[in-house]
Symmetry: C2
Subunit: 312 residues, 2 copies
């Protein structure tokens, strides 16, 4: 049994490989909901959806969001009704998910329940858990404004200089049912190659999660989202420097200080092995570029082998 | 200035002609909301939408619902999530309207406000008013069950024998802002060729509407939805017989007893002119089949001429 802490795009690429190498039904994915937002009044959970669509085989291979082979007819029509529509892309198939989620939440269902229902409907046997059923919102403060995660990443294209990342509501939140047990009882916990500040940070900010990771006996392994000091996508390298971490595997290990037994790093970063060891973190060196599902599967097999789990 | 009381399909066909013959900005349409319902948690107002889409030139020419050239991608995806999706057709473009309405109503806007906003967004200069901002629901009681209007008409294809038609919530409702003034102050009020029980009945059931029509000085004219004793579409003839009205223009005039100055009837029903006169209702005989916009425009011109309004 493996538990994965996951954001969106990077995590999905890894999961696409993991489910080729491990029994999907033996996995629990704890997913960031700090990116959740309302668009047109609809409850959108981008990371939950990216993970669920990926596990269901409904995600596009290239794009990191939405459903494969989707159209944007409704969004275009919404553009006639809203001044400000269209910067957040919601496809017609994808919209069904948000309509359903909004409907069920309004009926009083929890986000956990809705997520389980969506998984069942799509034939996903992996357990997908939102980090919390309570709203936690990642807020990016720039010199000029406070932005929601989506506004920062999509609308401002992650360009503004970030002063602070905070997780509004985190202190009042609690882990969703099953989250702490999944962390406690998993043979290993894997932190997906997601942004430590924007994707994994919100999960760790939910009271009890960090402590549960610390108290585990079995290993906690992260996969570095950096290759040669560069993020595969997104503003991670800049954020690391901004918050006085080196833009390197060592920086990632420091972000997760006190939590990790091992960090999976790319061959391009093998020279950091000793520096990582000095932080008490074993380096697992492999090719971490997850460009194709086959490559992702190879990374997953390396991680499983390092954890003493052969491919199942 | 003309005020039209309107249901959905039949009314839309007439309006398509009327706006070719009269200044659209000089019209007020008071629309039935007894068919309103929630689908997937979305607030759907079928008659308001049919009227608005028709006035905006966005309605299909043949079909009596939804938007022209629409697709059903989202609805198909909803079919994976709901056991019971798909019997009420919601197109991708059409969905934008329901998403917007649901959002605005949740924000506390009234149905009147939302309707005005939708009209403005679509460039509709005609004033479109819901009959009420409060929910009124047309309930069709059959021997076996109580059905919402849509369940009766679409799901059961108007097949079950109807025991009763009632308007739940009507007594507690009040006319939407502008409705009574539009009835009071219009040079003429036209009752569109809609079903008297299922489409116009709910409007007349809103407290104050019937009295406002009775107290008017200027004419009230209905267009018969029957041709040769048959409804152009829908279960009207059966309903008339069920409720002990003749399935004829006389039956229609009796449904509106005490309200009408004149009834526009088809040439096929010209023989009823005297019987109508005995009910105090002048017959305006013309070709009432509204198959094309050009034919509908001819009917509208006849109505306007009979009212002493030439084409503008």
């Amino acid at each position: 049994m493996l538990t994965v802490l996951a954001g969106g795009v990077g995590a999905a690429k890894f999961l696409r490989g993991l489910i080729r190498s491990a029994d999907p039904a033996a996995l629990t994915i704890v997913v960031n909901t700090g990116d959740d937002d309302r668009f047109f009044g609809l409850a959108v959970s981008p990371d939950l959806d990216t993970v669920t669509y990926t596990l269901a085989g409904l995600a596009p291979l290239r794009r990191g969001w939405g459903r494969a082979a989707d159209s944007f007819t409704c969004l275009e029509a919404l553009g006639t009704l809203y001044d400000d529509a269209g910067w957040f892309k919601l496809g017609d198939k994808d919209l069904a998910t948000h309509v359903y989620r909004t409907h069920r939440l309004a009926q009083g269902a929890t986000l956990s329940t809705v997520t389980a229902e969506l998984c069942r409907a799509h034939g996903v046997t992996t357990r997908v858990l939102p980090m919390s059923d309570r709203p936690v919102r990642t807020v990016v403060t720039t010199a000029r404004e406070r932005l929601s995660f989506q506004e920062y990443l999509i609308r401002r294209r992650a360009r503004p200089d970030v002063l602070r990342v905070s997780y509004a509501g985190a202190r009042r939140a609690s882990p969703a049912p099953g989250v702490l047990a999944a962390i406690r009882e998993a043979r290993a916990v894997v932190i997906a190659p997601s942004n430590p500040f924007l994707s994994i940070g919100p999960i760790l900010a939910v009271p009890g999660v960090r402590a549960a990771l610390r108290r585990r006996r079995g290993p906690v392994v992260a996969i570095s989202p950096l290759v040669g000091g560069r993020a595969v996508s997104g503003p991670l390298a800049r954020l690391l420097r901004r918050f006085d971490y080196p833009a390197s595997s060592v920086g990632i290990a420091r972000c997760y200080r006190g939590l990790l037994d091992a960090l999976v790093i790319d061959r391009a970063d093998a020279h950091e092995t000793d520096a990582l060891a000095r932080l008490g973190c074993r380096a697992i060196v492999t090719d971490t570029v997850l460009r194709t599902p086959a490559r992702a599967a190879r990374v997953a097999r390396t991680v499983l082998a390092a954890l003493g789990n052969g491919p199942s």
